[in-house]
Symmetry: C2
Subunit: 191 residues, 2 copies
């Protein structure tokens, strides 16, 4: 009959619903506490369908954290505003609708799941390091990248996972003006 209003088949919509439900639950409670049953319930389908469509919980998890970072092109950024641009982009990433949830999943999981921690290290080596290497040829760029990543990951941890009150209630602009200068120094200043 083909009387669906969209071009997506029912199975495609079901798959998407499962994935969305899984991302939500993984982000909220982590890998181990997010059961297949709970994911199915949130997607309003049968638990058996989750396995049917994805094969296993492990595969579903791998799919849920699958994405690329889309870092900003700092090569086109005014030299004096590198720090500001970096932290602003970071906040947009985490608080945007697309990747925010997946990043929270990954961060939460990487504390106990080695597959997730490995993905973190891989993203660092494959994306963060090259991005910084492009804008500066100062020495010890990997150390600089480490310092920057540490600060940014700490913000994400306190704001989105631990929910430390003062960090949660800070407005994005306040974060930018406070942390931007620090990142600026880590990029081009003295160590």
């Amino acid at each position: 009959m083909q009387n669906n209003k969209s071009k997506t088949s029912k199975s495609e919509r079901t798959t998407a619903a499962i994935l969305a439900a899984a991302q939500g639950l993984f982000a909220e409670v982590g890998y181990e506490r997010a059961t297949v049953r709970d994911i199915a319930a949130r997607a309003s389908i049968d638990p058996a369908m989750v396995i049917r469509y994805f094969g296993s919980k492990d595969v579903l998890f791998a799919r849920a954290i699958e994405f690329d970072l889309r870092l900003p092109n700092l090569a086109q950024t005014e030299l004096s505003r590198l720090g500001d641009t970096l932290i602003r982009h970071f906040l947009d990433l985490w608080e945007g609708p697309t990747s925010g949830g997946r990043l929270t999943i990954l961060l939460r999981a990487s504390a106990t799941n080695d597959e997730a921690a490995a993905k973190m290290r891989k993203m660092f080596a494959a994306q963060v390091l090259p991005m910084l290497a492009k804008i500066s040829d100062r020495g010890e760029m990997s150390v600089r990248a480490g310092l920057i990543s540490s600060h940014l990951m700490g913000i994400a941890l306190c704001r989105y996972v631990l929910k430390l009150p003062p960090v949660v209630s800070m407005k994005p602009e306040q974060i930018v003006s406070s942390i931007g200068p620090t990142l600026q120094r880590y990029i081009v200043g003295p160590l």
Copy 2:
């Protein structure tokens, strides 16, 4: 017969062995993946003894993360060296034999376990905030504490949990000289 070479009873030694094994496993794989059976195996005792001595896995976990922070007395520190002193003490704490393991347990677990996350928030409110309040009456001390905590937690996460190569291989003195000035600004500088 009382022919033990030490004054500690066997039950006390067993309890200590269980607690040590639990701390090790909790630190390595987190709360959910550390099973009572594995903990017992590491302590070379029967799984039933774990429950007998501690009542439940939850209680055992609570005992494993039980400690106080012993923060430095910054009130006696030269004003210009507050940042240095803070990061140096932080590193000593994490890399020392006494509390390092427990802190790793707590950090790892707090990503997925709400009890652990609540303890983190409690430690922040009960110890970190008052410490900073003592040395400065500038405005927005809770924001300053949040910035400092974010950076420090990020270092711990990248160095002891995610094991990001450049952060792991940094020497303590390099961390102090890089991050000290940042913390100094977060304590007494402009936001």
